[in-house]
Point group: D2
Chain length 145, copies 4
């Protein structure tokens, strides 16, 4: 079954800018927060010091469809788009919850790295993690592209 | 002549994360800061209240090549990739300055909107701005893609 | 009965710095988030545009006792320290939740202002708000000073 | 001669909030940036990993007098208020530059810690640093309190 995760929260005052909407750079933080909450929901920590495994981002993009405003509730939906031996591509849909409307569509590619030797070098994603990374169907991914 | 602008600054402590490098979401702020400095260098303000013109982002992406570290100096180079009637696509190259190395390549599409009516609606880019938005050559853009 | 409110959340990755702990400037955002959640719990919005009332900060301070780390859960407890005609002084205790330990003690003074005229000018706190701002006892406030 | 340092920069768009002014939590980042630039001007790095010395904040406060707005230029002036064996108390004055007006007055107490053993423990400030930390006169400090 495809992996799927969603996190709901509310826009904080400090996340808005003088245009009265969430500053666009914060959408990337929302996506990362959902990714981390997804791993915590599986019992994994993404703390790079404790796990000796890091997930640096190699690419992140976002299409902004509708602005989010202060105090507005939104949902960040995470899907797995592709799993490669050392990398994962996520898809994120950010929804306004009331009324439900698509605010943004994002993608992020992260690489699995070993951190124990001081420097980062890419490694194969551990099987224990990989088992939980089931790509969504093409249908699920296409609908909102 | 193609428009070109560059801004040099240093990584602030608060921009790093526990992995010891600049948190990736800050690269999008660096790109926006360079865009705004570019317009200031032309004598334009991008203040949405005073100019009644806003430039919301509709898409932003970034490829991360090398991490930036605390106190490191970097240059954000802005090029114009494409000018449409109501939108501009920028290219950004973020360089470590010593030794010079490409840290990130970004793109951002912004739309010109009128803000005077309370709601945003897309308008044609004013000619006074457009005159300063000269796309870079395909060569300049391809080199680093 | 003294007003009291508390909000529990988890440290986000982007809130840490290269020392591996929450960057100190984020504690002020945590305090403001708790203040806003407190007002929402009472049915009030603190949206300055919609309510025509703003609450600019005139002073904020924080004593840092213990660092907060990535993924750690913490509680922000809000107490009312003093209510003046046009201003409120809050006290905040930020607790690590497991094991419970005091991470920070903060204070914030906010002033009630009218925003309808373009410029801010201080006004008396509306009675409908004031009724909910009951100062904590000296005992509650002294314990942790 | 009393130590004195000042840094001038401009408000970034992402530092504003929906009230149209710099979000208050950013003033603490401005103060820290000035502190770090002060040490760099002396030839010291405050990078905690390379220097094995860290300067965690134990207290930070700020009085907000006038709002800073997008694109506005401001100066952060750093003075030494007190030097103790293991701690330094800074005073910061944040000035709008045109026309010159005091926007904020801050204080910050930082403790010198050794980081080599994994855990932080307070140590005496190295003499090479201390030589550069000359407190301002009572007059300079009182004027703007």
């Amino acid at each position: 079954m495809p992996s799927q995760f969603s996190m709901t929260r509310r826009v904080a005052f400090s996340e808005t800018d003088l245009a009265g909407i969430v500053h666009f750079a914060n959408f990337y933080r929302y996506m990362e927060d959902a990714e981390h909450a997804f791993y915590r929901s599986l019992g994994f920590s993404v703390h790079p010091v404790e796990s000796k495994i890091g997930w640096p981002r190699v690419k992140a993009s976002c299409d902004f469809r509708l602005p989010l405003r202060f105090e507005e509730e939104f949902e960040v939906e995470l899907l797995i788009e592709e799993v490669r031996s050392k990398a994962v591509r996520y898809r994120f849909h950010i929804w306004k919850t009331a009324p439900r409307a698509l605010a943004a569509v994002g993608e992020m590619v992260v690489v699995c790295v070993n951190l124990s030797a001081g420097k980062m070098h890419a490694i194969a994603i551990p099987d224990s993690w990989k088992a939980h990374l089931q790509p969504a169907s093409a249908d699920m991914l296409e609908t909102l592209k």
